[in-house]
Amino acid sequence: MTQNNSINHSMSGMSLFLKKISRDPLGILGLILVTGMIFSALAAEWIIPYDIAALDIPERLASPSLDHFLGTDHLGRDVFSRVIMGGRIALWVALVSTAVSLTIGTILGLIAGYGPRWLDNLLILSFDAVRSFPTIMFALAMVTLLGPSMNTVIFVVIATSIPAYGRVVRTQTQALKHNEFILAEQSQGAGMIRVLLVHMLPNVIGPLLIIASMDIPVVVTIEAGLSFLGLGVKPPTPSWGSILYDGYSFIRNTPWIIIAGGLPLVLTTLGFTFLGESLRDIFDPKLNKEQ
């Protein structure tokens, strides 16, 4: 019912975006947290005061001090440095796996939604087969096959995320398939590849990016969880999950390690979630299932 007679948008995309997000306090908070996390991950080497593997046994399990902002762990390593590095690991895993699964999922989803029925059925069957595996079981199986490492974690996340993105893209593609602009391009003789890449993809990618950004905290948590179980990154590489594990073993000595491992997880998850929801409300309020 909103009338909008102005045909030319007076503000550019970025300034309009900033103006809109400034109305949402949680969105601003999310933006700050995410920016902070990305910055610390990128600048990790310059921020950390200590080497992450530097042992200092006499100082082990120390409480936070000016020397060690978050104290030390059971081997005397500076927890703060390890947490910052852990952030880089978390971000790296999240970004790589999201980027790869998005790409593959989108391609498969486009083909499934637009292509012949038999191909669609085949792809959907594969998606459902993968999704019916509980993630932890799948992770355990993969770790057994490939050994615990960061790359194994990335592989597990990619394999389990492709079906989810694939389905979303497929549904969007199917919805748009019969739209007049697609018919119009087909009537001019546009082939499948042109229709999918030039016309379908830009219209499908928007909601997908928002969903992906809300998935990042999930991936971070998966990585932390797997590392906590010892199925993820190998020591001495720090992961928030392994820091949590260490902290959990020594909780009677000091609570600070657990806090150090858990707090960044919470902040990252909240940050990306707030930002993602804010983005969603700005760009595509229809995605909000609660409305």
């Binding site: 019912m1 909103t2 009338q3 909008n4 007679n5 102005s6 948008h9 007076s10 503000m11 309009l16 103006k19």
Partner: protein, 327 residues
Amino acid sequence: MTENVLEIKDISVDFITDSGRLKAVRHASFNVPKGKIVGLVGESGCGKSTLASVLIRLMSDNAVVSGESILFEGQNLMGLPPEEMRALRGNKMTMIFQDPMTALNPVLTIGTQMTDIQHRSHKTRAQKRQIAVEMLQKVGIPDPEDRLNQYPNEFSGGMRQRICIAMALLSKPSLIIADEPTTALDVTLEAQIVHLLKDLQEEMGCSILCVSHHLGMIAELCHDVVVMYAGELIEQGTVRDIFHKAAHPYTQRLLECDPANIQRRSKNLPTIKGDIPNLVNLPRGCIFQDRCHKKIAICSQKTPGPLSLGPGHWASCHLLNQGEDYV
């Protein structure tokens, strides 16, 4: 002087948008007399649907309504608390929408919807059903008893619109607001619906405010017509005043452009060049000046006010002041 069921006095609606304050309706004043059908005519973007939605007070969050009064049967709707407005809506004032498919709930039977809508009357369920059956018969639905148990998708478009009309009449309203009631229908169905509305209106004596851009339908259905352009009411009169003695250049051109009005086959059809002006930054003077083929100097300096041309016929145009021949 007939009593008016609706009196709108100096109503304006602004929309707060990211690009500024959009003045969608400006200082609108008109009346709907008791027992008459009034047509609100205008093209896309003129604000007629906005004005209609002000009456039932269902507006989007960024709308700001201001003005003197909206008198419905003597009661001012402006500033009326939501509960009282809700008591009026669907009772003394009902609405028929453009798309009958989306106006009906697809998961409830017609019977359920038609009895539910009578929730204010303290009759038994059986009595309400009987009233629904009679109303369906009146609007020409065959076998109404059986059809009450069917779902909206089991009816054709024309029948659905008849059902919507029946539902609008159930509470014996004083005013029905019909927003583009035939736009979504084929031409043969349109003829049926127009006929139906005329007959029912005569029988039940209610008033109808019909909002549409369809000139032919308005000419057939309405007693009085109000013409709207870019947020302003620019001419009002009886249906004959407007269609035979149009005074405002916009009304004149609009009638000239209707292909149905053009008797001789032409490969050079008339149009009104240009677009409606920016409603955020309004031009100084007459709102129609940029597209008017009869523009004079004063048009860009002063906004014209309504000038009386006869009983019940007025138009806002400087030319009428100049003693020019406007017929």
